[in-house]
């Protein structure tokens, strides 16, 4: 494993999140979405990404946080998954930062307001914590439906 890793960071309800840069295809501003009826709430809709239809997943909803204020438009973090591109809706985009492996730690028990099972772990950075999102878990909408993600303490 590499000594350090680059993360694309973003904010959701004040929390500082990151996903490894190699998983991120691109970051784009708010796109108009077409809502999809009959699917779990976490799926906010479909966006047109240069002719490709991409499903947008609201991370606030997925992480069990409160709704985003109506006047605040989410940003899209488009990630590559085994099933093609997916968009993660976040509040705000941060910088791409490089963190060292040794700062990594399992998610602390005291983590509040965020589903712990969605987090790989945290990087202790000076003055703040970077929560590393488990992308695969986050985009697993089926899990969101069955509630399997909520079973863990």
């Amino acid at each position: 494993m590499a000594q350090s890793e680059q993360f694309c960071t973003f904010f959701i309800e004040g929390h500082f999140f990151g996903v490894p840069v190699r998983q991120v295809q691109e970051v784009i501003r708010y796109q108009e979405m077409t809502r999809v009826p009959l699917v779990p709430q976490v799926v906010r809709g479909l966006i047109n990404l240069r002719g490709q239809i991409v499903t947008a997943i609201d991370l606030r909803r997925r992480l069990g946080m409160g709704e985003r204020p109506v006047d605040q438009l989410p940003m899209n973090v488009v990630v590559r998954t085994d099933d093609g591109a997916l968009s993660l809706l976040v509040d705000e985009i941060g910088d791409v930062i490089e963190v060292e492996e040794k700062t990594f730690e399992a998610p602390p028990e005291t983590l509040k307001g965020v589903k712990r099972e969605m987090i790989h772990g945290v990087h202790k950075l000076p003055g703040r914590l970077l929560l590393v999102l488990d992308t695969e878990r986050a985009v697993n909408v089926a899990e969101a439906v069955t509630g399997a993600g909520e079973r863990d303490p």
């Binding site: 699917v39 799926v43 809709g45 479909l46 047109n48």
Partner: protein
Amino acid sequence: MNDSDGIVKEFLVESYENLDRLDRELVGLEKNPEDRDALGSVFRTIHTIKGTCGFLGFNKLEAVAHVGENLLSRLRDRQVTLDPEVTTALLCMVDAVRQMLSQIETAGEEGERDDSALIATLTRLQQAPAAPGEAPTEFAGPIASAMPVESVERVEAEEKKVSVSAPAPAKASSAVGLPRNIGEILMQQAGVTSTEILLAVKRQNEGDPRHLGEILVEHGATGPSDVVDALRVQQSSRPPTAASDSTIRVDVGLLDKVMNLVGELVLARNQVLQFANRMKDTAFLAASQRLNLITTELQEGVMKTRMQPIGNIWSQFPRTVRDVALGCGKEVSIEMEGKETELDKTIIEAIKDPLTHLVRNSVDHGIELPEDRVKAGKARVGRLTLRAFHEGGQVNIEISDDGAGLNTERLRKKAVERGVITAEQAIRMTEREIFNLIFLPGFSTAERVTNVSGRGVGMDVVKTNVEKIGGTVDVQSTAGRGTTVRVKIPLTLAIIPALVVTCSGDRYAIPQVSLLELVRLAHDQARTGIEMVQGAPVHRLRGRLLPLVYLSRVLELAGVAEAGSDEGNAVNIVVLQAEGRPFGLVVDEINDTEEIVVKPLGKQLKGVNAFAGATIMGDGKVALILDALGLAQKANVISELQDRAVAAKEPSAAGKTGGNRQTLLLFQTGERGRMAIPLALVARLEEFARSKVESAGRRQVVQYRGQIMPLIRIAEAVDLPEGDAGEKSGDGEGPLQVVVYAERGRSVGLVVERILDIVEEDVVLDRMAERPGILGSAVVQQRVTDMLDVPGVVRAADPGFSKAAIAE
């Protein structure tokens, strides 16, 4: 040449390529006999050629390829080692195959050649494991005997001296093509008799080294100028360009990519057009219109590269029919109409097997034995007709036979035996439903297992495969007159015409394939045209009950449409069909038709079968494509039987909809009687003026669609006091309310007091209340409701009506 032209051409192009590679691979293999990959590739190539030959009926070619394949399989299994001798023999085989191919290319048939020497050599080689040392000398002879034909021909072809004779006609061959026999030409043009030619050929065989023409001239059979003419004809009869020169083979993957790009271009074009219409710049408008035209042409062009005439797959059917007919002692002629109808390559491939099965099925089960046909007053030879034609952006393919037709009684019985349906359902089912039973899994009426039935491709697979590509299958049959299976398939899968509708502010695309018609109920009609309350609304469309589905409800969106309709605004109904059953989809607005590019949905949305995919609209926004069948299933508007079939396939869906959810027609009978029957049993709701009721014997009847329809008064049938509105004719006013029930083409009218409602409920039948004509009671809309035993009542009132059903 014949129909199979296209396939043969394809086969030739492919085989030439393969053979060229084969030469290289065999030579390479000789140098490096341990190269298993190369050997595997050689094996596959020969195997493919063999398979295709068998299918095209080129038996000689097949025979040669067959022994070659055997030898190769021995090599592959290391039972024979690859030495020069084996390689030589294999190369000889490749050459022989190539010669035959060129013969086929020019003459359309294999010609009369004798490959027994080659076959013998190949056969012997696979039996005798080549022991070192003995090979070269011992085997040189036979191989040499197989070789000369080859080498001599080559030399002669180069010299352009043509000498052709009966025992070895495949001379002067090259990969390009083979001219006609000189003898033939002389016979046609110079009046040389066949005896003279045969004599000359005989002399050649006896060792006369001269050419045929020379011998003939010497014998005075013809003049030298005739021979020169004939040689010229022979030269010119060589095809100007061979099939392998005028076509190139393109990777389908590349075509798909181009197709996708064109799809994108179509979308971009749509966006530009919308933009251009807003900008009042004429130059821009002109440019965008030009873009529009070019894009359309490009789209057509690219589509065309993938189009193939359906004749390509049909051409194998005469043989299929012949073989099957021979196998079961029948005489069948086949007719084809619309061979040139073109379809997308992927679709052609997808329907090949289903069509083959349908054709075999028609011959095997549809058409009767010659004796039976004569007895039935039909021509001895059965007729199978294939028709293909375009209709409304779809291709219709019909496979009709003039056989015995489907036996509804046998189908019913079989279905009950197999537990596909209950005996009760069997009685209730309409003829059309009965016919379509043949498409259910595990259903075969074949009373004996033939090589056709035992092939593991049932009618259910036919249906599944056709539906997979967005098509439908329907069967119609008339007893004694024949059966027609109609397959409807889209022209292409990538770009489809669709109707765009709006619901709760979002746009949805509906593929035109499933669209039947549009109905708009304005003003008063909006209120009166929909007979409904709570559960399941219906609209009477030309006298037929059309179940309605509110799109906003099915999609669980805020019900803008319903509020609108209550206020008397227009109601827009899109009449769709799913599994051949129409239903009305109520939407807020009907916008326009548009060509859309179907894009798949991500995995996250796959579970929702109400959507067939998504597309990008002209303004760049995404719209979902609705799936008629999925919507119908979700809204529960298709009949129970089909629900069952679907439930069997998708257990999860069944779990959601609940065990015994039924759509019921509620009606009042007598003064207070509240009854229900499954909507599936209702053919129509009718009103008859009381004056129309006539008497026939003791029974009351009405004339209905050219038939005499008996009327049954439900109140009388189940012993209830008559109501005010009078189910008895005469007393009471207004028209009679009649629920029409149909069974095998006969109708009976059930007279009721009043139609109350149509609801969808989980029915829990309480048998305590069972009595004649009543199956039991259930709670429907929080009220106790009797379930009418329709077949029972009909039988009690008219024992003759269901005679056949009772006999079972």
